[in-house]
Symmetry: C2
Subunit: 272 residues, 2 copies
Amino acid sequence: MTTEALVEQIFKKRSFLCIGLDTDLEKIPTYLLSEEDPIFEFNKAIIDATHQFAIAYKPNTAFYEAHGKKGWKALNKTIEYLNENYPQLFTIADAKRGDIGNTSSMYAKAFLQEMAFDSVTVAPYMGKDSVEPFLYIRNKHTILLALTSNEGAFDFQTLKTDDTQLYKKVIEVSKTWENSERLMYVVGATKAEYLAEIRKIVPDSFLLVPGVGAQGGSLEEVCKYGMNKNVGLLVNSSRGIIYASESSNFAEIAAAKAEVMQREMSELMKNL
Amino acid sequence: MTTEALVEQIFKKRSFLCIGLDTDLEKIPTYLLSEEDPIFEFNKAIIDATHQFAIAYKPNTAFYEAHGKKGWKALNKTIEYLNENYPQLFTIADAKRGDIGNTSSMYAKAFLQEMAFDSVTVAPYMGKDSVEPFLYIRNKHTILLALTSNEGAFDFQTLKTDDTQLYKKVIEVSKTWENSERLMYVVGATKAEYLAEIRKIVPDSFLLVPGVGAQGGSLEEVCKYGMNKNVGLLVNSSRGIIYASESSNFAEIAAAKAEVMQREMSELMKNL
């Protein structure tokens, strides 16, 4: 998907909500467990109920890998379902990969071509030659971890390096890489005030912002410091939406939660 | 596997060779492609032929994920084959994972418990709470990326932070984490001279050293700067061994290559 198509969808739906499909067998309604593929059935119900309020879906691959072959199959079915039924939605494989060049190429192929996600999250620690293989693919996006939403972000990401903090250095350096216009960045909502600094370095890039909801980040703060003229934000909520209810009408409740967020987002977009 | 059992095996075999199972359908002998599971058949042949010269096997998960469900099945069969037939061998899931706490727990469960690898490689960028879930599991090991073998290692890992370079900071800080005695570190053979600095911080930890062979690192240099009284090294070779020949006797040729390395290693261990 092109960035233009993503922006168009955001303005059409007046939403920049990304729904995290962190689907956990221990948290989904128990009656689904008798289905042949409970993870996929849960995802399908959530997607069908919430798609009008969201512009992106983000399965975290860990939740699928934890179930081996079956989990991998559920992930495949989920992305196929999204691509076939809702091709206008932006899809993110939250995989946080990164390896030496030839290995990163394998990951890029797996997520962006074979599974045909629009984007994949990548860790920056191994540097340029570990990220560039993801950037070669046209109309796909690589979302680099910059400042994550967890407490451990303060262990290394905010260390002062030569002239600036590591997370800012990561963003600055990555801008010099080939095809860097295909980069987006992960910035946790729990660290909203840092967004002002980040916007000085990448005023136009899209930022994937996890941590609103269960982790405590504020949507209003995120927009105050991080919104640009194209919105430039994909704000993710996972647990707060998909596990809002364990009853048989879980998908309706999830849709109601998503709608509340979409309305807030529409309001926050009113001056654009 | 306990560290003691690993050390015992190293001294018994007089080898600290880890063989990387980066199995690529485009590189294995073409006659294997007619098998139902060519990746597993290749791995099985390599393991059976080389196990007497090696003490560890390291599948890089990217090569398996690139084939989706089928690849995942081949990875499962490979680790099951190793655990059933050669339980004394140390196994490494080279996955380079790392995510927020509840997600890292899913990865830890998948690799260390369900697939029952002895260890998994983890990226440090997200800090303490992203790594600790891997450290909870007794007699398992977490191998943290410190200084990797690729050129991109110089983008961020060697940046000077407050008082020291990032890769050293990662090692120093990780030593303070809970169950840190279950940590090992990745240090590329292409940067052997850095091993002297690393040994000042972690004199006793095991180091997984990729980059000997195809990537150009020297085994002798690695031992000169990195060996301790327990050896303390797992030196990995992937392409140099497993793709030494494309003919039908590829496994014998791989064994011959592994034996050459084992002999060099035995010689380098002579003063221990």
